[in-house]
């Protein structure tokens, strides 16, 4: 089959590799019909994530048709499914609590040691996202082996377009969980840093959860425009002093809840990471941004901090004092995708959430390297690239 493989910083290629096979009873093989490039993939593209190996197949946002099933799979050939990026078993303590991204068993035993050292306990496996999270081949390919296919993939009805449901795999549930973690109450003002896919779905979700005002922060005009389309007010941090603006816009109180949807590659964020490889490749200045620090400082007393943004190691100059003194609540985590999929599928089908607005480019899989380059080089114009293996 053809697949997008990683070879190093800014070096991804479409190559021919062996087709995946059923290896465990609960596996299924999916023929991919649509797969997206994620902001998280750019972290790999830029070489920020350690434990990558040459030839690794990328991609964790994908959907397709079931073409083969193991004896323990509940899927049937021919079904259309969207696959969550988190690989969870459904049988461990965390899965029983619907904390799927914390699944004990989704990550192969030998790969759990690194996370054990770094974080104290290992997290679930992820598709196409380094060997620390399992080393699973990802979905930017013609076919994928999907483990635990009886608890992960959600079956979508015929007649609904791929583009409408593809984002159930990651960014839609991530934006939704970000808003849920903000514990929005009626009358709330919610401030969201980052108008990428995650931030934009958080804007929509916060509105649906009853926020009175949403203030979206970014520096890309087109992305801010998309946020405005869903009712957000905006701050362009290149033109405006964000903290001051937030204080003025909220009558000197500060936002009731703040959401960091920027992450470790935040433009200019200073990351003091324990992982040497990241340290080595990080010579960013400290001035360009400080999304999570700024969010904590701006948040009103007794408010809530939600952090869907991904961090890998240690962060310097974290305002722990502000967090404590103001009595803030901080909630975060990789998304428990499986938990949110059914409800969000209904919301999409009922037209309550708009998903297709995000897609700026559709390309054949063969052009995936162009997709990465475009997404990397022009974030304003390129909001989301969807790859279609069947397209020519």
């Amino acid at each position: 089959m053809r697949a997008l493989t990683w070879h190093g910083k800014h070096d991804v290629r479409v190559e021919t590799v062996d087709d995946p096979e059923i290896l465990n009873p609960r596996d299924a093989i999916i023929r991919v019909t649509s797969t997206a490039i994620c902001g998280s993939d750019l972290h790999l593209y830029d070489g920020y994530i350690p434990t990558m190996r040459k030839g690794d197949i990328l991609g964790h946002e994908f959907m397709g048709e079931v073409v083969e099933t193991g004896s323990g799979s509940t899927l049937e050939k021919g079904q259309r499914v969207v696959v969550p990026f988190t690989i969870a078993c459904g049988g461990c303590f965390h899965c029983s609590k619907h904390q799927y991204s914390a699944c004990d068993n989704g990550n192969p035993a030998d790969n759990q040691d690194i996370a054990m050292e770094l974080y104290g306990q290992p997290m679930s496996g992820l598709f196409g996202y380094s060997h620390m999270t399992g080393g699973y081949a990802g979905g930017q390919a013609e076919y994928v082996r999907v483990p635990f296919s009886d608890v992960g993939p959600i079956v979508v009805p015929d007649g609904i377009d791929d583009d409408e449901v593809l984002f159930l795999s990651d960014i839609l549930p991530t934006g939704w969980m970000a808003a849920e973690n903000a514990q929005i109450e009626p009358g709330d003002t919610v401030a969201i840093w980052g108008c990428g896919p995650v931030g934009l779905f958080a804007v929509q979700s916060a509105m649906l959860m009853g926020a009175e005002r949403v203030i979206a922060i970014d520096h890309f005009p087109r992305r801010l425009e998309l946020a405005r389309r869903f009712g957000a007010e905006t701050i362009n941090f290149e033109e405006t002093r964000t903290y001051e603006a937030l204080m003025e816009m909220t009558g000197g109180i500060g936002p009731d809840a703040v959401i960091d949807a920027v992450g470790l590659e935040a433009h200019g964020f200073f990351v003091d990471n324990v992982i040497d490889q990241i340290k080595a490749s990080t010579f960013l200045g400290t001035d360009r941004t400080h999304a999570i620090r700024q969010a904590i400082v701006a948040c009103r007393k007794g408010g809530r901090v939600s952090m869907p943004a991904v961090y890998g190691g240690m962060v310097d100059k974290f305002p722990l004092g502000a967090l404590m003194e103001k009595g803030l609540t901080l909630k975060t985590g990789q998304t428990h995708v499986q938990h949110y999929m059914p409800g969000l599928l209904s919301a999409v089908m009922e037209g309550k959430i708009d998903t297709t607005f995000l897609i700026s480019h559709r390309l054949p899989l063969e052009r995936a390297p162009d997709g990465y380059r475009m997404f990397h080089d022009d974030q304003d114009e390129v909001t989301k690239v969807v790859l279609k293996p069947g397209m020519h």
């Binding site: 590799v17 062996d18 087709d19 995946p20 096979e21 290896l23 465990n24 009873p25 609960r26 197949i57 323990g72 690989i87 078993c89 459904g90 049988g91 461990c92 303590f93 029983s96 004990d104 068993n105 989704g106 990550n107 192969p108 035993a109 030998d110 790969n111 759990q112 040691d113 054990m116 496996g125 060997h131 399992g134 080393g135 699973y136 081949a137 082996r145 483990p147 635990f148």
Partner: protein, 197 residues
């Protein structure tokens, strides 16, 4: 509960977590394990399955190689004794007979290798109900004697190379098998899968 954990030390933590290696070994010796050697490793894992089921799977020694990476096979000799064949570097194997020294249904299995073992070892597996209905806590405590000599050095490599990590990985695989019915693999093709094994 866990009487063998508590000897003269001032807390309730398991012996394998003691900062004093000798104390820990003494303590294990004070319990049901007859220490064969001076390297100690201990690990606990919580498995979201009933204790009887977890115990029964383990007690059937022949199935242990399914999740113990280094163990090639375990042959049953009789009710108490079994023969172990364990992988060593350079395609070699090491072997020993093992005898059950203590057994309490659903609670404990302790063993020790018999005379002439390539790698003298002993240990115990304890099974307890996890609090809060979370299934079963399985604790493995293993004492072994890394062999000397040239071949010994090779052999020691597999045992000394982070034996705690090996135990941890084996227990994780055991947990996966009990909780999910399979052992997670990231391989894409059967060929990759077999290369990993």
């Amino acid at each position: 509960m866990n009487d063998h954990h508590r000897q003269d030390r001032g807390d309730d933590a398991p012996p394998a977590t003691s900062k004093q290696r000798d104390d820990a070994l003494d303590e294990v010796a004070g319990g049901a394990v007859e220490p064969k050697g001076d390297s100690l490793t201990g690990r606990t894992v919580t498995i979201n399955r009933p204790r009887a089921e977890v115990y029964a799977y383990w007690r059937d020694f022949a199935t242990l190689p399914t999740f113990m990476d280094n163990v090639e096979r375990v042959d049953r000799i009789d009710e108490k004794r079994s023969h172990w064949v364990v992988k060593a570097p350079a395609g070699r194997t090491v072997e020993w007979d093992s005898v059950i020294t203590e057994e309490r249904e659903g609670e404990t299995i302790a063993w020790a290798s018999t005379e002439g073992a390539d790698v003298p070892n002993s240990g115990r597996i304890d099974f307890r109900d996890a609090p809060g209905g979370r299934g079963t806590q399985v604790t493995a405590t293993i004492v072994y004697d890394p062999p000397a000599g040239a071949v010994g050095k090779l052999i020691a490599k597999i045992f000394q190379r982070e034996p705690a990590i090996q135990a941890r990985r084996d227990l994780r695989r055991f947990k996966q098998l009990m909780e999910t019915g399979e052992i997670a693999t990231a391989a894409r093709t059967r060929k990759q899968f077999e290369e990993e094994a």
